[in-house]
Symmetry: C2
Subunit: 142 residues, 2 copies
DNA sequence: TATTGTTATACTCTATAACTATA
DNA sequence: TATAGTTATAGAGTATAACAATA
């Protein structure tokens, strides 16, 4: 590496990737168990309340054109319905079916359990980690 | 959410995703500036010393069949060469060219600068973050 | 027989651009 | 004209299975 490499910074970057990678792998595995691809599962998480296609795309940080296919698949599985917006007929409101609500709750519940397990070793220091991550997110140059 | 949801755990999971997502976006942007796709850039990082196709695949947590295409692209760009292993003619050793070494150093240097900026707001507390992330990685159920 | 790397193939995810139907 | 959503298309990333060369 370059002479000015700070070993602490390098380790922090590596640790962050590792921990986030483990969290992501757990999420994807849970999604698969519930019959969902990772993108479909992320969409389900974003469907707690009815949203438009564009709002969901913004939440997923992707183009609306991609959401069409994701929602097509969830609709085929009977988890989501597209409902017309009475005020603007161009807009579609995405609403979970009863089965969709159950599936979403299973997904979120398992994800939460995994996160609790991931951070459990920290005990009360989880509060310290929360504050440090908040500072990174709020204060660092984006 | 479920009644037993711990808001602290939920926030930690969210913060971790956000911070890692920012780090990943910065890495991908740097890769693009250097003419590399994200997967190609990750492969370059793993090529500090000569490795076999299988070793690189293990480092990238993917199948060896995928590495073939990634290395094909890097070889076309003149950044890597496949060299025969004298001891086992099945094996190919991946070696960076001079241009590959320069490109890799640019990639790592910029990535390090970004990481330094990301964690800068913590000041001396970067040591605390390092210890917390180490504990998460080493002690949590994988 | 087992292993290294490759090829062929398929699926997922994503972006861009052109299209429609509304506004 | 502008906007919401869709379609068509292309590229990147990944996995599986079958294969050739070598061990």
């Amino acid at each position: 590496m370059s002479p000015e490499t700070d070993p602490l910074v390098a380790e922090l970057a590596h640790l962050l990737s590792q921990v986030a990678g483990r969290q992501g792998a757990q999420f994807n595995a849970t999604a698969a168990e519930l019959g969902l691809t990772p993108a479909q599962a992320l969409a389900m998480v974003g469907l707690e309340a009815p949203v438009t296609m564009r709002d969901l795309a913004a939440g997923l940080s992707c183009e609306p054109s991609n959401v069409t296919g994701i929602i097509d698949a969830l609709e085929r599985r009977g988890l989501v319905t597209r409902q017309p917006d009475p005020a603007d007929r161009r807009v579609k409101r995405l609403v979970l079916t009863e089965e969709g609500v159950r599936r979403r709750e299973a997904l979120c519940s398992r994800t939460h359990t995994q996160a609790a397990s991931l951070f459990a070793p920290l005990g009360g220091d989880r509060l310290v980690l929360r504050d440090l991550l908040r500072r990174v997110l709020l204060d660092s140059a984006s």
